[in-house]
Symmetry: C2
Subunit: 371 residues, 2 copies
């Protein structure tokens, strides 16, 4: 293997896989990236066996070949190199020579044969989405996935096809029992969802980063217990978790007698101040929805009291509810519009949070009992 | 106490004391800042009893008064406030009311009488320095202070008055036995140094931040086992450690047969690459000084080899030495000029590092034995 490649393109490619490779693993090969040079391109392959990535970078390949090297070291080295062009050469004994200007590294690698092969993937359906739509689904839903819940069925994001306002949509839903996030986006083509397919947290974290920039559309292939996302020069594959997501529709409240519209930025800045006095442990913040004013306050915490009022449009009678303000803050942070509507049936009922102007996401927060 | 004050000015003032107050202490009052309002200004006082700060901020004071409140909470609150003006009011029960626009906080505080009084300071001499010069001394020396050395005498920076090239200078020196840093700057006025006065690490850390921006000159008052630094609206005071600094002059090598001049940015970028392959534990990097080229390399580390050459001007015979590259990198990082000269007598002698063009700082690095 011998090739010349643009330092910044290689650096960007290596940056994309840093979230996939496992640094502390009992299998050292999983901290490696597989380099594969052939006909004008260098292919990077990274996997932890649950998720896998393959990306192609244009290169001036003098001699084909492959080799696996430590991905973190190679990334650190490449981005520190002094010249815009890098020469990669495979030496005897699975060593990789990295040369750029006056800098010369020799890395100890592993033979390509030792690298795990990604399982074969057969697509039974393919949907095409806008990258920015998929990016929004991930951002609006992933934060609500349960971290260490004993109930397997909520340890990932549920995905399904739904019809909203007469149009086909891909929907993603996640919950940790304290809050729920649900978002939809349009697609073209076909899907093959089953009731027991959950997207794991790590796949969503990697996906969120991969979707930054790049091509405008992305193909989603449906395989056997796995999904694959494809763009012209890269493929990202991940195993689905097998688990039955709870009946989330039962949790989304519909008959809400109290409905308050508030400016999103105002409520977020108020809540950012309110949580300053609240220690890490959850403690309810009092939300008093009045005729034209919402008063948010916390009393008798160790360090003091805080109270703030902001204008709202209230539909229904005044009502006072307790919430974990940090949950609401996270939701406000992933919403897009200027306004947000909070809807609830009574003070101990789940609260629906959504954009009153755009119907592509809804959030539910469970109330907390006020002392 | 009741006053109106500019939010950003108060926020900047509170930012300056965050490095002084102790967050985890058995004396809760030390996590507080003392507020003292009187005649057009709010005075902030912060201390951990070893260092102390007093700063004045212009304020529209309606009613004099004082109160101590948690410094971290007040800082977080003030910088989050929605309006440019903040009203501070002392309420019954040592509570502080903080109001700005629609936000209203009430913090539980402590009576001013509970706040430790700073010890009286009597100046027996006062030197005046440029702020940027003092800032440079701190930056060029503080990083070399021993962290946990059993020898008390090197747990702080030594300061003294010296004459360099016929001019009076304040000199600061620190060492951890592996490297030594020594820098000088001009002053006016008088000093009163004793052989047993060491500036503690924390005082230098705080000072480094306080010197960012602000007035162009600063007065240094010499007191009994303490120093005080004064600018028009702020005073920073700290106790000196009692300890005898070793005879550092004996460590600075003078009769150096090998002398190499190299571009500082080139050597720093080379060393930043070289350390990528070196684990945290110290391991010598080989520096081979040739007639017109320095070759830096590391071989047989776990992850591979690295080698790099850069042009030098060598005076004397070629010589090969081992160094801890991270120590050299830190030194290069605090130097200012384009060029740096490395001087040594033989491969196992201490190496002198300095600017060949400006004589205001010198550094010494102990060599490491190459395997």
């Amino acid at each position: 293997m011998e090739l010349f490649i643009d330092r910044d393109a290689l650096s960007r490619g290596l940056a994309r896989i840093q979230g996939i490779i496992e640094r502390r693993t009992t299998q050292p090969v999983l901290s490696h990236v597989l380099l594969h040079a052939r006909e004008g391109s260098l292919r990077l392959t990274a996997t932890d066996t649950e998720v896998g990535y393959v990306g192609e970078i244009a290169a001036n390949v003098q001699k084909n070949g492959e080799l696996a090297v430590d991905a973190a070291s190679l990334f650190q080295i490449v981005r520190s190199l002094p010249e815009a062009t890098v020469r990669l050469t495979r030496l005897d004994g699975n060593r990789l020579d990295v040369k750029s200007g006056r800098a010369k590294f020799t890395l100890h690698g592993l033979a390509a044969e030792e690298y795990p092969t990604l399982p074969p993937f057969e697509a039974s359906a393919t949907a095409t989405m806008e990258s920015k739509d998929l990016s929004r689904l991930v951002e609006q839903v992933a934060f609500s996935i349960a971290t260490e819940d004993v109930r397997w069925g909520i340890n990932g994001a549920h995905v399904e096809e739904v019809t909203v306002d007469g149009a086909r949509r891909i929907r993603m839903v996640a919950t940790d029992r304290h809050r729920l996030a649900c978002a939809e986006a349009p697609f073209e083509g076909s899907t093959r969802f089953t009731p027991r397919m959950l997207v794991p947290r790590k796949a969503l974290a990697v996906l969120g980063k991969l979707l930054d920039g790049g091509a405008e559309t992305i193909d989603v292939d449906f395989g056997e217990s796995a999904l694959q996302l494809r763009r012209p020069t890269e493929t990202f594959w991940f195993r689905l978790l097998d688990g039955e997501f709870p009946d989330y529709r039962a949790v989304i409240p519909s008959d809400n007698k109290h409905r308050a519209i508030v400016r999103r930025a105002d409520l977020a800045s108020t809540l950012r101040r309110v949580v300053i006095l609240i220690p890490d442990r959850a403690r309810p913040v009092r939300f008093a929805f009045g005729a034209d004013e919402l008063t948010v306050d916390v009393h008798n915490v160790d360090r003091g009291d805080v109270s703030e009022s902001l204008p709202i449009e209230l539909d229904g009678n005044p009502v006072t509810v307790g919430f974990n303000a940090r949950y609401l803050l996270e939701i406000l942070g992933v919403m897009r519009g200027d306004r947000v509507v909070l809807e609830l049936a009574h003070p101990l009922a789940p609260c629906l949070v959504r954009d009153p102007d755009v119907n592509d996401a809804q959030f539910v927060v469970m109330p907390m009992r006020l002392d």
